[in-house]
Amino acid sequence: MNSFLSLIKRDLVLAYRGRGEAFNSLIFFGLVILLFPIGISASEKLLAEIAPGLIWIAALLATMVSLDNLFKEDFQDGTLEQWAVSPHSLISFAWARLLSHWIITSVPLIIIAPLFALSLNLPPEAIGVLILSLLLGTPLLTFIGGIGVALTTGLKKSSMLLPLLVLPFYIPVLIFGASAVDVAADGWSAAGQLYILAGLFVLGITLAPFAVATSLKVSVSQ
């Protein structure tokens, strides 16, 4: 437990000193959203209609892109190997890395999301549900994505492989996240979608670290 907390602390301090990573995924998030009004149409009515799905897709892509260096540094400088041979379990290492990564990249994104939502004319009533759905959904994206990253860590040409592995598994999160916001924007209760999202959240954060740890062990032994 002690090593778990100190690992998170180390990551947060590193992120604070570096400060680049979190902003990069924020800028990416904003850019993807910017593309849609330009590419499709700037009509206010249309944008309001597609806003829930659009914000969710942007959040999904931003999470996926930020994942790429989740274990890369630890793998290259040998930290991962030290963890694998140390008495500490790789599962708690995976847990700590995923959690701190979520705090560094997704929390700023959730904080800024309402601003983008308003710029897309999403009804203000749906903002609360948007934040709640992102709070439940983005950890899930990080944890599922972590499996893909752990499997491809150590490969030289992995940049195109990661989305290929991870995107099909993101579909349920996208469906329930976007539809929760969609339903809330129409003035209905989004409880059903949020409950399912919460169920997936519990399932994801309990099972994914095992898969990540096993994959890391395979990657290290390579």
Partner: protein, 257 residues
């Protein structure tokens, strides 16, 4: 020795498996043809035309078995993945990597024949129906597993990585399936799903079951062929491959004498 342990060691031995698969192949081919020929004949000729869809329903005899097989192959892969990860049986990894392209092909066949069937029936090559969408996602998962296997050069590592991804897929496939079903019914009413489960006439059902059985033997046949090819490819420098080549050469020489 315990019979299970005996089989465990034997199945792990390519030298034992390779000739056995070779002996099985003609039998499996015979069984495949035994079900395929009457299935095709009854399906394409003797089964009555559908009162609503006319003759074009006959594409069902390829479409439905292929769709079933695309899911069954994944199940086989999942079971093999458990065996590969828990008991470290290398042959189970060979089963997975040999099954992936077969499963992907079945999914592709189901999607293509579905499009050919959908055009005259629904007036569209593709609709974002729940079944179609989840079949497409299944195809992408197959392709992802294949891409992962090909990206890792060390085959012992890639076999393990592939097994993990296959198991992750097993947890996710039902979730994806039901989320897609729910996503679809939430937004648009089902227009054509009434014809998804027709109360099928017995003369139409028999060829369907024959074809479904034929497809299972087809899978087994291609699986055995691919497993043999994969084993040779991976173990090209090992002793048992050299022994098989020597045995072949000896047999050839004996023939000439």
């Amino acid at each position: 020795m315990n019979i299970i342990i005996k089989w465990y060691y034997r199945l792990g031995a390519p030298l034992w498996f390779y000739p056995l698969a070779g002996k099985l192949i003609p039998w499996v081919t015979a069984l495949f043809l035994l079900f395929l020929i009457p299935g095709l004949y009854m399906g394409l000729v003797t089964a009555p035309a559908d009162y609503q869809q006319g003759e074009s329903f006959r594409i069902m005899y390829v479409h439905v078995p292929a769709a079933w097989m695309s899911m069954l192959v994944y199940l086989v892969m999942a079971i093999s993945a458990v065996v590969a990860l828990v008991w470290r049986v290398r042959m189970a990894e060979i089963v997975i990597i040999s099954s992936v392209p077969i499963g992907a092909s079945f999914a592709l066949i189901a999607l293509l024949t579905g499009a050919f069937w959908g055009k005259p029936m629904w007036g569209a090559w593709w609709v974002w129906d729940a079944r179609l969408t989840s079949e497409l996602i299944l195809l992408f998962i197959y392709l992802g597993i294949l891409a992962l296997y090909n990206a890792i050069e060390d085959k012992a590592t890639s076999g393990k990585a592939m097994s993990i991804l296959t198991l992750v897929g097993v947890v996710n496939l039902p979730i994806i399936h039901y989320s897609v079903v729910w996503w679809n019914t939430l937004h648009q009413a089902a227009t054509v799903t009434a014809f998804d489960k027709p109360s099928i006439h017995i003369d139409m059902l028999i060829p369907l079951l024959l074809m479904a059985t034929a497809f299972k033997f087809l899978f087994l046949l291609v699986l055995l062929l691919k497993m043999r090819a994969n084993l040779i490819e991976q173990d090209i420098h090992s002793g048992w491959v050299k022994k098989i080549i020597q045995d072949k050469q000896k047999a050839e020489e004996n023939k000439h004498d």
